[in-house]
Symmetry: C2
Subunit: 359 residues, 2 copies
């Protein structure tokens, strides 16, 4: 069912595909790094499995692989960036670099991005800042799949937010989460396994809670984090709205139900309210608040206290956000990256079609 | 059961109590404004109902009503503030003013606060920025009541986060939320009504989900937003951790289980890891990203689209975050503020004890 590939092999393949799409070497390398790092970190749904999706969007003319990414508005610590319809995988790291340069000079930097596309895992961009002893923040809006509390319409994406913090002797703390109860990737896993999903992840076309992982195909919606009003779905909806406003209302991208769909077979709105999709990226120098080593020592202490917490089930420990991904990354760098056969076949079909070496 | 008071009456009473605690006129006025605004906005749990709680903390010597609040570390856009054990009701607005001054000059301003106390509703501070066409952000950590996913220990507070955005013809969008599935105030309502609570709000002392609103009194814990792992409680835990790290690990306040309890009958840790409790406050000029009017026009459009969304139940509309509080405020400014008799009695008992005019 799974076939394991060396990281280098996946990188070479992915690079070839981006080159075929017309990316420069620099952009192809960067986009490859974002996707493969997602697979390394165990977030399989956002890695090379999406490569043919990006390709189809490019075929449709919805991704510009030679973008002139530029700052269109700025102050010392803020900027709005026009991604020129480029790959989010390339636009978001550009935005984070701008944020970090501003942070270097003034303590913090904040960038809202319009006219972009999906940026992969939020954690990739936030972690760029962590390497320089900064706190990294990254968010993006996404295709509408989520119904706000009480709604029977998909008005928001799974709109992830990420906060990443540098620790001392431990891996960075990385909170990287969709603001929906469960991201679409989890539904896809249940679809493949032909199993039901927990109540509270989706509602059907009439707005009734459902355990069928296929509801999105027949007019259903994902539910916000919290699942229902009693359990705080208005909070998940509020977080998703926050991501949407910071990423798109602030930058001039499309927001809410106007966000262009990620899948090439669905057309974007004929009456857009902005350009492309939006991101929001931030960097804050830790030593803008206290000496970095002090912060890291205390974050280590925080981590140790939480890791050693009393648990309900002795076999389970409290998980530090970002730690499982860190361990995946170390392990997969050595043992390779397992891809499910469906994904391998999909990628090899693409390879044949566009004439690059198969996996 | 409820007695309704004019806003002015509550303000006069609250001011008198803060004066008795030794606050300056300026601080007493400000602290009063934060508490009464909470009641006006319908967040009764955080308003004057807490006044005698603040008083008891002061009696115990845990609140300094003559604080020398000062910046102890800064860059052009960041600052760390020492609240000198002052009322959070006074320290947090000070921090927001610093953030806004920095934002005025450089586009954004960010302040981490240590050595403070509870700051009332997060929305109050964030809304200060909105009045100047800035996006306001406010967070605070709080007494440990919440068990992270898998834990059978209270390690985090209900740690609220707030994002507030200026709109055009509509009230500001204010996302102001505890990162727990339900805040303690909701349990108190169920306790008074002698009713059960939904599954997923608390666990008992053995870590089992419970519908008893009194579990916290016998070793139980609140649960993070998401309630259980299947429904994303690791996300609620991650958000709460983010608030804790930004508010306290970054500033030098106490974090996690070391946060001093809000109730005077519980003693703070004998081995603190920092000073007092922490806040994190931010302000971003909207016109640092795009002209403010453009942003507001689009936010109005966002609001209109969400308000007119198709709903499951025709009698319920999608709620814009902050709108219910806005309507409460307009209504209660005219009709007065209803206080439950238990709270009125508590306040009048305090009044007798400290010799101020009763309500």
């Amino acid at each position: 069912m799974f076939i394991t590939f060396k990281e280098e092999k996946l990188r070479a393949f992915t690079f070839d595909v981006f080159k075929k799409m017309g990316c420069s070497d620099e952009h192809a390398l960067l986009a490859t790094d974002v996707l493969v790092r997602s697979d390394l970190r165990g977030i399989d749904s956002h890695g090379v499995a999406r490569l043919s999706g990006y390709y189809r969007l490019w075929e449709k003319g919805r991704i510009n692989t030679k973008p002139a990414i530029k700052i269109v508005h700025e102050t010392p610590t803020t900027a709005t960036i026009d991604g020129d319809a480029g790959l989010g995988l390339v636009v978001a790291p550009f935005a984070m670099k701008v944020a970090m340069e501003k942070a270097e000079k003034y303590g913090t930097g904040w960038v809202s991005v319009k006219n972009s596309n999906h940026f992969g895992i939020a954690g990739y961009h936030a972690l760029m800042a962590v390497e320089k002893d900064m706190i990294g923040i990254s968010m993006t809006n996404a295709s509408p799949l989520v119904a706000p509390t009480y709604a029977n319409e998909r008005l928001l994406g799974t709109n992830p937010m990420c906060y990443a913090f540098p620790a001392g002797k431990y891996p960075p703390v990385v909170v990287d989460m969709a603001t929906a109860a469960a991201a679409n990737g989890k539904l896809e896993i249940a679809q493949r396994a032909n199993s039901i999903i927990p109540d509270g992840w989706v509602q059907d076309k009439d707005g009734k809670s459902s355990t069928n992982p296929n509801e999105l195909k027949t007019g259903g919606s994902l539910l916000p984090l919290g699942s229902d009003k009693d359990h705080g779905s208005h909070k998940g909806y509020g977080l998703s709205a926050t991501v949407d406003i910071l990423s798109a209302v602030l930058s001039g991208a499309n927001y809410g139900p106007w966000v262009p769909p990620f899948v090439a077979f669905l057309e974007p709105s004929k009456h857009p309210v902005g350009e492309g999709i939006g991101h929001f990226i931030g960097a804050m120098r830790v030593d803008g608040f206290r000496p970095a080593q002090e912060f890291k020592d205390h974050l280590d202490n925080w981590i140790e206290r939480f890791k050693s917490a009393k648990t309900i089930d002795e076999t389970k420990k409290v998980i530090i956000p970002g730690e499982p991904e860190y361990h995946f990354e170390n392990e997969r760098k050595i043992k390779g990256i397992p891809l499910i056969d469906v994904v391998v076949n999909d990628l090899n079909t693409l390879a044949e079609k566009i004439k690059v070496d198969k996996l």
